[in-house]
Symmetry: C2
Subunit: 209 residues, 2 copies
């Protein structure tokens, strides 16, 4: 498969949600022009993004919304279950345990870790908080594929190093710090301020939506 | 100013962070090719995105990292302070009150609201939790420009309606539901599952980073 940029993958996630909303509204077909309009990209971009994976639509007829959603879901790996470990059970961590969108897309938080003795041994939603010092054993036993890091910035790199040593290849980082990983490991940084910047831009420039 | 897509604004936020990291590493100039490489977009895209706002770099010499960061910051409205109200003090809400990245970019959470009598009157980080029923009075008194909605999905549309009636024009929504607002109001939805989908895509397709 051709190398696909992270920007393309992010747009596929966006198209996926657009399709979900169209399906909710009982809309059965959609053109690349319509997807482009909703998602603020060019229709050429939509067609190019989808062309990486073969041709889904029929010329002149547009895409079947359910087929296209399912195809994109398969591309994104949303057709299977992913076992996730969450490291750091502070406020963000607790919010993530309860976050329904993860489970809906097949991301199942199976293990919780913390290094605070006050938290270890307690439960959140039936999940026991385990000691971070034992993480390597648990990750392998439970076949964890993805780790979410929600620890303070000052310990995040150490946590990520331990995950890499435990053969975790995909990490979502909530700590507000840029982390180093060897090649072959994918790390994504979640920065919740980014969306606020689109709002301040809008307010500052008084754009019409 | 020409109409600018939300995708462009999101890329500007990305360039801004890339520049911050380059400045941390004491790098003084950068080319659009280099920014493009780091951010996985084409250099033509970088130049086009920046061209909306005038010409910053000097041909053949690249961009001064500090100047470009400051210019993008001004474009995004990060050169001023924004007063923010947070509605819903559950796990996500509590995490956001503590989230250092907001304050760093000039987004100051000044008011907290909830409708749970158990929470109203308590404090988080010196901020009193106020009753949602009185929100209109407080929003005006404190000159709030941006609202963050971190309430359960089933009440989110009602909360947003109240915000719109209170002349709030910019809303960041964490509830996993698509919300309706009149034209002239900007709403952004934060979906924390999106970044996980880039990871499942990577694992499924075994791409090299």
């Amino acid at each position: 498969m051709e190398r696909i940029s992270t920007a393309t993958i992010s747009r596929l996630s966006q198209y996926y949600r657009t399709l979900e909303r169209l399906i909710e509204r009982k809309i059965q077909t959609v053109s690349s022009d319509e997807i482009a309009e909703i998602d603020s990209v060019t229709s050429a971009q939509v067609r190019k993004d989808l062309s990486f994976f073969g041709s889904f639509g029929r010329r002149g007829l547009g895409y079947d919304t359910t087929d296209l959603k399912n195809n994109i879901g398969t591309i994104l790996g949303l057709d299977k279950i992913w076992n996730v470990a969450l490291i750091g059970v502070g406020n963000i961590g607790r919010a993530l345990v309860d976050y329904g969108e993860f489970k809906k897309q097949g991301f199942i938080i199976k293990l919780l870790f913390d290094s605070d003795p006050e938290k270890i041994g307690k439960k959140i939603n039936e999940l026991l908080i385990l000691p971070f010092s034992d993480i390597q054993t648990y990750l392998k036993a439970e076949n964890i594929q993805i780790a979410i890091v929600a620890v303070p910035a000052r310990v995040a790199q150490n946590v990520v190093n331990t995950l890499v040593e435990s053969d975790i290849r995909a990490i979502l980082n909530f700590a507000p710090i840029s982390l180093k990983v060897p090649s072959g490991i994918m790390i994504k940084n979640e920065n919740m301020a980014i969306e606020l910047e689109a709002l301040s831009f809008y307010l500052k420039n008084k754009l019409k939506k």
